[in-house]
Each structure stands twice: as C-alpha cells, then as structure tokens.
Amino acid sequence: MRLLSSPFEPGALAPPWAPARVYAQVGGVFAMIVAAGLAWEWAGVGPSALGHALASGAVHAGLLALGWLLATDAADGWRGPVFRLGTTLVLAALAARLHPLGALVFLLVPGLLVLEARRQPRIRAIGLGGAHPAHALAGLVIGTFLGAHLLVTASRTLGYRLHVGGLPAYLSALAYDVGANALSAEWLFRGAVFSLLWRRGTFWPAALLTTALSLVRYLLDPFLPHAAEARAGAVFYLGLVGLIACALRAWSGSLLPGYLAALAFFAAYRMLAP
C-alpha cells in the first residue's frame, strides 16, 4: 500500500509540461499538410480528389500525433512514431482514394499503433491494454444498439433510407473508420484527453469535457454533411457514443470496448443515405 510504504515528499512538484513549442511544431506541420491538400482540391489541379484525401489523412494523423504527445508528455523518441503513423495514415488515405482496395492500408494503422506503443510503456496508462471479453462484447452490443437506433430514427424521422452503395465502397468506409476516424477519436479523446482529465478529477467532468471536445472536432470536420438535421443527429448520437465510450474506458480500463462500440455504430451509420 503506497500510502504507507512509499516515501512521501509534501513539497514535491509535478515535472513541467512539455513545451508548447513541440505541440505547435507538430500541429503546424499537419496543418500545413491539410492546407496543402485543401488548396490542391480547391485549385483542381490534376487529380484534385487526392488533395481531399491528403487533407483527410493529415487531419487524422495530426489527431494521432497530438494524442501521442499528450500520452507521453512528449517524452524523448516521439518523432519516429509520430512520423511513421502520420505517413501511414496519409498514404492510406491516398491509396483509398486511388482504388477501393487501397483502403485496406487503413487496417495497418491500428496494428502499427500497437507496435509503436509497445516501445513506450507510458502509453499503457491511456488504456492501450487488452480488455475483458465481456467488456468488449458490451461495447459491441451498445454500439450496435445505438447504430440500429440511428437507422430506425433517421428513416422514420428524416426519411433517410438504408443504402449500401456497393460492398467495396462500404468496406472502404469501414476500413477508414477502423484505421482513421474511430481510431483517432478514441486514441486522442477517450485515450489521452479523458485519461489525463480523469486522473486529475472525477468521471463526469472529464467525460463531459472530452465528449464536448470530440463533438467540436466532428462539427468542424469539413468533410461531414452540413445539413442541420445531420449536425443535430451527430451531436445527439456522437455525444451518446462519446459518453458511453468514456464510461466503457473507465469501467474496463481499456480503450478497446469504446473503440468497438464506435466501430459498430459507424458500421450502421455507413448504411444510411439521404
């Protein structure tokens, strides 16, 4: 019991945070890549769709990088993993745009992330360890329920319909969720941010703030539909998914159940078409 067995220094201070310069450097690099991609798309030079993919990949790569820096407090050796993960994500996005099967490259990202994280023990503190099968199953069930609910509500309320525009496109979208969309959200928000806040306080403030930040990220995403009902739906469902993922993270000690819940939810979401 550490309260009795570990030496205690009442005046000891926490080590200083990593300098903001590091975050600014990383954020600046990825922002420039996003800007370059958007400019390429806007200019319409060559295959302008690749510009869109470049920007999309850079956004998720930036989120992963930010998560890495927060989780490790920018400990020495962050450049290598951040570069490798970012490059893989951007290449996956470009590959997915060039060919539907190219999206399979997204599936490499979770594995690469786990491999990189194994070399950095501090990453385990954000919940990268395995989960109990019951917890993982609970995440899948909850995500599936919310996804099914979305399908029923959207079809009855807004007149949306179930539409899987070809299996390759559907699978490509799922691969994107696996390797970029859901992964970056769980890694950064439920992993780095929620762990950081929860460790310093209680569950509800940490969960609400984390969910609010993740909603802001979705609402600012230029690649999502801008219709009012779509934004309201995103706030409602992604808010629920976010809160539930925080609860699953706190309950299980792992990011996996929340990640599975998000994947199940997005699997249903991808079936929806206006």
Binding site: L3, F8, I126, H149, R156, T157, T202, G253
Partner: protein
C-alpha cells in the same frame, strides 16, 4: 433486475408499436415503471441507464411527429416523454443511492463501535474494524495505523501485510495531523514509487484520526477507478467516528487495566492485613511464652530463697539466675515499649554520644562467646579505631539483636563474623557487618524480614525463641540514627547483615 427492466421496456415499446397511437399514447407513461424499478433496485446507474433506454425507444415515435407536425402541445408532450424517464431514473436512483450510502455508513459506524467495545486486545479489534471499513468504503486497500508514533503504532490492514515507511504519506498525516489526498497515487509527484502508471487511476486518502487527545492514528484508503463524492465524504465521516471510537476503546482498556491493578492491590493489601493479623496473634502467644519463662524462673528462685535456708554459695547462684532472668524480662519489656513507640509514630528517644565501636563489639562478643560455647565468634576491624556518634544503648541493642539472630539461625559449631570499617560504597558511613554461615533466608522472604512480628519459618530453627521484633527494631533504630540496615542472604549458605551508620564528625 436490470434484465427484467429492459424486458419490460421492450414490452412497452412493442405494445406502443402495436397500438400505433402515436407519441401521445397513454402507454408512454408505462416507460416510467421499469425505469423506477431499476432506480429503486440499482440506484442512479440502473435508473439512468434504463431511463436512457426508454428515451431511445420512445424517440422513433416522438421525433417523426415533431418532424411531421412541428412543435404542438402533443409533440411537446412526446418530447417531454423522451427525457422524463432519464430524469426520473437519475433523480430517484440518486436518492436511493444517497439513502443507501447513509444507511451503510450508519451500519458501519455501529459495527465499528461494537467491535471496539469488545474485551479483545486493541490489535485484534482494529483488524476487525479495518475489515468493516474495507467493505463499507468498497476500498481497494485500507489500513489503520493507531498510535502517536509511526514506529510503535499498531497496524491493521486489508489485505494484510503492508510495510510502513516512516517517511510515508500516512506517517506524514500522523505526525502533522494534515490529511493527504491524491486523485492518482501513481502519477502524484509527492509519492515516490517506481511502479508504472496504470490505466485506471488509484485514488487515495490518508486521514488523521483525531480525538480529544489529538491525533491518535491514521486511516489510509486506496480506491481503484472512480471515487464518488459520497464515498469521499463517507471516508471522512468514518475517520471522525473511528478517532473517537479508538480513543474510547483505549480509555475503556485503560479503565479495565486500572480496575485490575486496583483489585490486585486491594487483594495484596487484604492478604497482608491477614498476615499481620495472624502474626500479631502469634506474637501475643510468643510474648506470653517469652514473658512467662523468666517470670517462672524469677518466681521459682525467689520462692527457693524465701523458703529454704540455702548456703551462701547456692544463694549467690540463685541471685545470679534471678538477675539474669530479670535482665531478660527487662529486655523484652524494653523491646515492647519501643515497639509501641514506633507503632504510635513517636520518635525513639536517643542520647547520642561518641562511642568506641571496637570496644562495644569486643564486649558483646565476649558475652555471646561466654553464653554460646558451640559457636565460633570472630571479630575483624580494618583501619584505626572507628568512632561513632550514636546512642550507646541503642547501638548495643542493635548489635545484640544481630548477634542473637546469627546465633539462633546458624548450627552449632557455626561461625559468626563481625566486622567494622568505613563503608567503601557509602562515603561518610560506617559499616558494621554481622555474618553467619547459618540456614540463610529465602529470596522471597528477604523483603519481609524487617517487618514487625515476622519470623521466617525453618525446620532447623523452629525451636529458636524470639518475638519477631528484633530486626524491625534494628531497622527503626538505624533509621533514627540516619542510617539503614541491609541484608544479603543465600539459603543454606548464611546471611550477612550490614548496618550503615553515619560517621562521627571528627571536630565533635
């Protein structure tokens, strides 16, 4: 219970679907039943979860109506029905949680008080209290450290087997009376540990246990994961109760200890009184006997002198006997008078003057050697003549008593050694020692031999005469002179009495 509530929700949703009466259907109120049931059985978590599920099930009915008809009273009612189960589930569940927590706290306090009231040792009771607290607070680890010093404090922990570092957070709380609180023990820079940070924070509290006497201990608790405000408050409240209960337990134990000590002392005093009573009875019997013996002799010889015409030689011998017995009677009466003076608390009347100790000893040895032919007397003096300022009669009686005891309690042919010299270990004191090789005194009797009426029984010396007053008089007379008497004895080897008296002032 949750499964039953979820099943009921499904049944209500199915019934609403089949009835197809829209969001205003009266059946929507039925969502509250499983929600409240879950809240009552599972608290805020159950109530909130089932309430949220009820809202989600009602959404596909309520939201299309809003889309179709806009915001009317009916659609608003439908929207309210969406949120009502969640709110009701959370509120009722929170009330249930609060009342359960209060009940649990009260039960824990009662259980702890009962544990501490028991007759067991404090260590055992603290172990039971730690287990009660561990269960009541749903802690991951819990320890109670009771005492004012961390090195000597009693430790009870769950699980057992915790090491205590004198520089730990608990020791800090014990020493300063300040609480230590941390939201994550592993990440707290104040706690030095080499263990990696886990994925779930470990909340920890070290709360001083305070009573009227100050800090009496520390309660250290660790939780894994979320620590609710209610649990935090419960820990603080229980720490207050434990501080007072521990102090009460210590007072009760002290009271028991005091009562036991008192009973022991009363019992010892009673036994001593009985001993004294018996000794006094024996004393009276011995006194009667001791007085009668010389009186009988006096009567017999005086009658012989009165009735018979004795030759001058025989008459002279009778007069010598009469004188000897009269002296014995006088000595006994003198001792009795001294005894009554001591018992009345009056000081012994002393007439101090310079006494030549060597001469006194030589005279007494001559007398005793003449009376006891079987014993060998030896007298050694070291250094120049030792002079004392003392009452010569009192000194004579002290020496006679010591010599008389030496003769009485040593076998025929035994040796009695007398010595006088300045006491080496007591500057300014003269030591007069009488040593014999007699039966000796058992160690457990040594402290009693200077008491009045006490005679140490021994089969070899049962026939020895005496009142049991000699040594008590020696002690009283020595103390009246500003000195004291000491004894060393080994059963079967003999005894050595050491009379220590103040040296005479050379300028006197």
């Amino acid at each position: 219970m949750i499964a039953l509530s979820v099943a009921l929700l499904g049944a209500v949703a199915l019934a609403m679907g089949l009835a197809d009466q829209g969001p205003a259907s009266v059946l929507r109120h039925l969502y509250l039943l499983p929600t409240l049931w879950a809240a009552l059985t599972r608290g805020a978590t159950g109530g909130g979860l089932v309430g949220a599920l009820a809202g989600l099930l009602h959404a596909p009915v309520a939201l299309p109506a809003v889309e179709r008809d806009g915001l009317t009273s009916q659609t608003l009612d439908g929207l309210l029905s969406l949120g009502l189960p969640i709110v009701a589930g959370l509120l009722v569940g929170r009330l249930v949680d609060g009342s359960r927590a209060r009940a649990a706290r009260l039960a824990a306090v009662l259980a702890i008080q009962r544990r501490l009231e028991g007759p067991d040792a404090l260590d055992d009771k603290l172990g039971a209290v730690a287990r009660e607290l561990y269960a009541a607070l749903r802690a991951r680890r819990l320890a109670l450290l009771v005492g004012v010093n961390v090195r000597t404090a009693i430790l009870a922990s769950v699980p057992v087997g915790t090491l205590v570092d004198p520089d730990s957070a608990a020791a800090f709380a014990l020493a300063t009376g300040q609480r230590v609180s941390t939201t994550d023990l592993a990440a707290d820079p104040r706690v030095r540990a080499d263990e990696p940070i886990g994925s779930t924070p470990v909340r920890a509290l070290a709360l001083p246990l305070v009573s009227g006497a100050g800090v009496v201990g520390v309660m250290a608790v660790e939780w894994r994961g979320e620590l609710s405000r209610a649990a935090h408050a419960a820990a603080e409240e229980l720490a207050v109760h434990i501080g007072l209960a521990v102090e009460n337990a210590r007072l009760i134990l002290r009271q028991h200890h005091f009562a036991d000590e008192l009973a022991e002392k009363v019992s010892a005093a009673t036994a001593r009184l009985r001993e004294l009573d018996q000794a006094k009875t024996e004393f009276l019997s011995v006194v009667s006997h001791e007085l009668r013996t010389p009186l009988t002799a006096l009567q017999g010889f005086s009658e012989l002198l009165l009735r018979s015409a004795l030759t001058p030689e025989r008459a002279q011998r009778c007069l010598v006997y009469l004188h000897t017995e009269a002296c014995t009677l006088g000595r006994i009466v003198g001792e009795l008078l001294d005894l009554s003076r001591i018992e009345a608390g009056r000081p012994l009347e002393l007439k101090p003057e310079l006494v030549d100790l060597a001469a006194l000893i030589e005279r007494n040895i001559e007398i005793f050697a003449a009376e006891h032919h079987e014993h060998h007397f030896r007298w050694t003096a070291s250094g120049p003549d030792v002079m004392l300022r003392a009452d010569p009669d009192a000194l004579d009686r002290m020496l006679k008593n010591l010599l008389s005891n030496a003769v009485k309690y040593s076998p025929r042919g035994g040796q009695v050694c007398v010595s006088a010299c300045p006491a080496e270990d007591q500057p300014g004191m003269i030591e007069l020692a009488v040593e014999d090789d007699g039966v000796g005194i058992p160690a457990d009797q040594l402290r009693r031999i200077f008491d009045k009426y006490v005679r140490v029984p021994h089969p070899e010396t049962a026939a020895a005469r005496g009142l049991g007053l000699g040594l008590s008089l020696v002690k009283a007379l020595a103390e009246a002179h500003g000195g004291r008497v000491e004894v060393d004895s080994l059963p079967g080897k003999g005894s050595r009495f050491r009379l220590l008296l103040p040296e005479a002032d050379p300028d006197f």
